[in-house]
Each structure stands twice: as C-alpha cells, then as structure tokens.
Symmetry: C2
Subunit: 242 residues, 2 copies
Amino acid sequence: MADYDLYYWPVPFRGQFIRAILTFAGKTWREQDADAIGQIMGVAPGKQPIPFMGPPVLIDHAHGFAVAQMPAIALYLGETLDLLPATPQARALTAKVVNDANDVLDDMTRDGGSQMWDDDSWRAFLPRLQRWMTIWDATGARHGLTLTDGFLLGAHQPGVADIVTATLWATMGDRFPDLAAMLRQTAPGIAALTRRMQAWPTLARLSRESRETYGDSWCGGQIEASLRRVLKQDEKHHSGAQ
Amino acid sequence: MADYDLYYWPVPFRGQFIRAILTFAGKTWREQDADAIGQIMGVAPGKQPIPFMGPPVLIDHAHGFAVAQMPAIALYLGETLDLLPATPQARALTAKVVNDANDVLDDMTRDGGSQMWDDDSWRAFLPRLQRWMTIWDATGARHGLTLTDGFLLGAHQPGVADIVTATLWATMGDRFPDLAAMLRQTAPGIAALTRRMQAWPTLARLSRESRETYGDSWCGGQIEASLRRVLKQDEKHHSGAQ
C-alpha cells in the first residue's frame, strides 16, 4: 500500500507541489482519478474524508489523517517529513512562499478560468507576472542565493520553499518556453535555483513521469487553451499532444 | 512603541484576521495607513520590508521580522503567541481553515473585484457560499463542537482556527445581516461558536472599535457596492455611513 492517497486532477498545476514534496522525501502515493474526485466532491461535507471545497486532498495513511488546501498540505508534509526550517520566522517565510505560489497559479488562470485570456488582458498582466518573478528573486538575494549556490531562504539544504519554488517555475517554464526565458532574464537567481533543484534525481524523475502522464498539459481546460493562444503556442501544443 | 506594525487597508476584510489574533493575544500594533502601503508597494521588491505583492504585511519588532500573506502571518502569530494546537495534524487543519477563510473572501469579492456582482451571478454563487458554511459546520461537528460548547478543532481553548472562524463569519454577518441569518440556519454550530468567541472581551472590543473606525465597510470599493446592491442594502448602507 502507498504511504498516501492524493486526490488531484490529472494535470500538474496545484497538485504538482504536493507530488514534488512527496517525491523529494521518497514517499509513495496513489493518485486518485477524476472519477474518485467527483465522488468525494459530490457528497455532503460531513461524509467527505475532510470537509473541503476543491482538490488537492491528501490522505496520510500512517496517521489516518486527511487534509485539503495546497498550502496546508505542503506545510503538513514539510513538518512531518522534516523539510521545514528551524525557526518560526523561516517557517513563516516558507508559508509565505507557498501562498505566493498558490496566488501565481490563480493569477495565471484568472482565478480558475473565470475569464479567458486575450492579447490585451495578457499584455496588461505581464508586468504583474514579472513582479512575481522579481519578488522571488529579491527573496533569494536577501538570503544569499547566488547563481551557483544556496537555497531560497538561506538554509544549507533544500526545504519546502525550494521544492515549491522550483516546481512552480519549472513546470510553467517547461510548458511555456517564453515564460522560462522571462524568468531567466527577470530572476536569474531563481532560474538557476530551479535548474539545480530540478537536477535532483527525484525531481528529475517526477518531471519525466509527469511529462509522460500529462503530456503538455499545465492547468488544463479552456483557460489553458486561451493561455496558449496569447503565447502563440497553438501549433506546438497540437504537434506535441499525444 | 507598539509590538507590531500592520500594513493593511482601512477596512476589516483580510486584515481583520490579523487584528483579531493580535487583539486576542493582548498585543499592540500600529496601523499603517493607505499612504504608507502605497509607499512600500511602489518600490522594487528588493527595497520592501519583505518582498510582497499585496497587504497584509506584518512587522514583528521584537524579532526584526517582516512577513506577508494573511495565512502565513496568522500561522506565524499562532506559533509565536501560543495559539496553535499541539499535534502536526491539528496544526495542518488550522492552516486549512485559515486558507479556506482566505478563499471565502476571494469568492465573496469575485477575486478582488475582477467582476461585479449582479442578481444572476449572486444567485448562482449562493449555493457555494452555503457549501462553505456546511464545510465549517461539518468540521466543527467532527471535533465535538456543540451549540453550547467546544472549539472548532476539538481543543480545550481557543486557537487561531477559532479566532479566524469567528472573525470571518462575525465580520461578514455584522455587515450583511442576511448572511448572518443564512449562517444560523446552515451552520448553527458555527454561528454559536462565532457568538461565543465574539463575546470574549478582547474580540468584543475589537469589533466595537472596528465599527467606529471603518463604519459599515467590509471589503470596500466597487465590489462592496455591488454586493450591497444584490443584498438590497443600498439604503441601509447610505444611512449607516458616517
């Protein structure tokens, strides 16, 4: 039996942070599919494993414990798998980074696809995306991150903040090369940290396997299609789809 | 000198969770005004007290430490002011509840006012708001919360999860009586917990003072005006404004 069950849609997006932390810590999990998610979302909250609005949901079999909300799951795994820093301040910065990453995903999808991207709205959004990149870069710089060495919050080993950072920018950059180029230019220290983290054998393997399983998908749905349109990737998308 | 500086707009909304935790713990803070917020938002992330996208930002003078993101601030205060539960699982549920509360605010404002409410969109949203209430109710029920006794996660004393829960529903219900009535009907245990928490002298005082300082305001702006329109509170709003 796997250590955990993860309920998340068959795309990287918000679930990928959880997959990356589990993978990095050498843990196994069973992916619950869209049918299983539909099933637990269709019942009353009192009958759910944890009363929740939307995935991801993680079930920790060793502790008979279920929890929802990506940032809460990431911090829970960080605490129980020894991937959080030692001081309350550095732990708070980890929580801040994880919630920032969650917000970037909301921004990139216009809050779950409540509106679609067009050229005008995308152009108006780009300075904000660059601002996010600069926020990450300034965070690393403040903690001694360089182009060749260091971690986001100044620790001597990678933690949840580094795994989440690398997963955010690597997954997005891998699907949207223009955004990878923007990161290299806007936040070179974070682009370098992302590369170093993704070279870790565990994260490299997850990246390969996710590519095999999910193809080019990032967030999925119509909002991803509109994102590809404004990034002029329609053709690449279709030729790359399996 | 106050223990903390809080940068947040002059409305309750997302900042009220932080004010409530500080108040409950007997801490003092200085409210930084909209001008001060504009100033730290207008500089490059490398020059900000903490590189951040939007308020709230908290500065903890005792530790020379700044942090952004409401859930991260709430958990940081919870940890350093002894308002978090003892087990990693209960701490994770606290983080889950705080992120849920953050999501409810996003839902209620259509993600920061990216679209305005009209009768149709509000009617379509109501089942989701009731679902949030039911999620809270089921969470309390699972941990032994009753109409007269107990706390959200089964602790013997209030913690961040209870303060955040009470602040969310009391602040909203105080400004929008229809929603308070809906909470009493949909989630009676949570309505009762909210009343018990708000009767705490510290929280009762904050509630009075916020009412004096911010009047009827909840989130502010055009989105609040559209919320009042769909809730048919235009008249009450104007007669209540100072």
